[in-house]
Amino acid sequence: MERLSFEVYPGEIFGLVGPDGAGKTTTLRMLAGVMTPDQGTATVAGFDVGRDPEGAKYHLSYMPQRFGLYEDLTVDENIRFYADLFGVSKAQRELRSGQLLRAAGMTEFRGRMAGKLSGGMKQKLGLICALIHRPKVILLDEPTTGVDPVSRRDFWRILYELTAEGVAVLTSTAYLDEAERCHRVALLHQGRLLFCDTPAHLKARLGKGVLAVTSPDPRRVREQLQNAEGISSLVLTGDGVHIVVDDVSRRMAEFQARLKQAQVPFDQIQRVTPAIEDLFVDAVSGGKEGEGA
């Protein structure tokens, strides 16, 4: 992790986005007080994590990738454990856990062993344990990896509700498309911060447009268009080709003509919204696809 600086505001979902090894987990760990930085400071909810970890820890919550659920404890016992560690009074705990369990649709599972819950429910339980003490900041490390899309939606809905209460949510993900769900995003690559902005601004930054060509023979399309002018990157998808270009309308017409001339079959060429992945690739490979890794 190199010279990382950023700020997250209350009521915001901030995404740390990047592939494995980009430094997301390291950053979150330092913020959570689980790892000490070599240089620099981290302030969470007004507390310097290095100098007053106990103070900071009361106001934050950390949900690591392998969440700290005890499989041989019931849902209630897990919640109680974390509540006690955070000094939540019994009355508060009962009120809050009731609310959270209801929101997660897990009220009838209170007495079940955590080990016997489905993947999506374990995640929700982890979140409940992380929220029981009403933290001001919550740090999530890749919370939705491998979880089915329905649970993922539920999870994000809870996160959005949290922001309405003024909680700052800092979440990391390797899925570039999940970055679109965040209010602001920091793109990380190999320990460096590439960009930090809202998804919309980031895409505008790309300054380019994206065309999608649907075709039964994507390889031929690629062959034809590979060396055409104005292309920053071209990638094969299952049913076509995805191209980042400098001028959408101009190139669209050009490519159409080219393909027709070479008699390459295609269904259509459309303009599509750029994905954050396009920005990432563009930024990392300096405008053209290079050797990579």
Partner: protein
């Protein structure tokens, strides 16, 4: 499609562990040279199905044929004709690149006189020439991925199974990897990929969506996006978001509404009609609308539409 072309054929496959049904009557066929995706969240039954297809697990009922061999009756033959690349790459980190290659050449019984040639080919394909002496554990994940692929195809199998091949790998390496896959497919190798990452499925020619052991959809990515959604998706940017999403829950023609970052994704039967209707509706409820436009649904939208319908949205997952 004649029999020789049907590289993988699955017919009503069922696999149970005790009273838990991991694979529930799955049927499909793949073509030679096709990149076929098996898409679904963790625990849906993908890995179990792959293991059955590789001859590592016996089916409870139903049949599966891989490269012409029945997986239940001739698992050994099946294994000789397939390549398998598993999650997180199954390479030995404390072996050098060349040592891993030699190991797998041996395990896959590559004939002695062809070993060197194949290894050279694999190194070339994976762009690892000159790096033979590197310790595998020190390689960046993109390289490990390509090495793992190389190791899985030393014996030039007609079919390869890739189990979550690009988890956590950076997008550039991922694209290069998929380039390789497309190359192999062009040469006639059938590629069977499993992934929980919906967007990765876009790289596949055809897909099957798996949920809780059952196949809920089958088709090309475009087909799935067009036919599986019961309506069209609108992107709405407005203020205040919280109020808007609440209001829309009962709105005219609204099939589903969810917050997505700084905007809303709303499902309506018809985009044209919906746009006008919702614009008026929201304004009437004191919501400032800055943008409404139709967007293409993602595969995730498709998945949610198919699975939440099935479960009736009542049972927590």
């Amino acid at each position: 499609m004649n029999t020789a072309d049907r590289s993988v054929l699955i017919d009503s496959l069922v696999k149970r562990f005790g009273d838990f049904t991991a694979v529930d009557h799955i049927s499909l066929e793949t073509r030679r040279g096709e990149i076929f995706g098996f898409l679904g969240p963790n625990g849906a039954g993908k890995s179990t199905t792959i293991r059955v297809l590789c001859g590592l697990l016996r089916p409870t009922s139903g049949r599966a044929t891989v490269a012409g061999f029945d997986v239940a009756r001739e698992p050994e033959s099946v294994r000789q004709h397939i390549g398998y690349m598993s999650q997180k790459f199954s390479l030995y980190n404390d072996l050098k690149v060349i040592e891993n290659l030699r190991l797998f050449a041996g395990l896959y019984n590559v004939p002695r006189d062809l070993v060197d040639e194949r290894i050279a080919w694999a190194l070339e394909m994976a762009n690892l020439k000159g790096k033979e002496a590197r310790m595998t554990g020190t390689l960046p994940s993109g390289w490990k991925q390509r090495l793992a692929l190389g190791c899985a195809v030393l014996h030039r199998p007609p079919i390869i199974f890739l189990d979550e091949p690009t988890s956590g790998v950076d997008p550039i390496s991922r694209r290069q990897f998929w380039d390789l896959i497309h190359q192999m497919a062009a040469e006639g190798v059938t590629v069977f990929v499993t992934t929980h990452y919906m967007e990765e499925a876009e790289y596949c020619n055809r897909l099957a969506m798996i949920y809780r052991g059952k196949m809920v959809a089958l088709g090309t990515p475009t087909e799935l996006k067009q036919k599986s959604m019961k309506g069209e998706l609108l992107l709405i940017e407005c203020e205040p978001l919280g109020v808007a999403v609440e209001t829309l829950q009962g709105g005219p023609g609204v099939l589903d509404a969810a917050v997505f970052g700084n905007a809303l994704h709303v499902l309506v039967p018809n985009a044209g009609v919906g746009t006008a209707q919702l614009q008026a509706y929201l304004v009437a409820h004191e919501v400032q609308v800055s943008k409404i436009e139709p967007i293409r649904p993602s595969l995730e939208d498709v998945f949610v539409a198919l699975t939440s319908e099935r479960e009736g949205r009542k049972e927590p997952v």
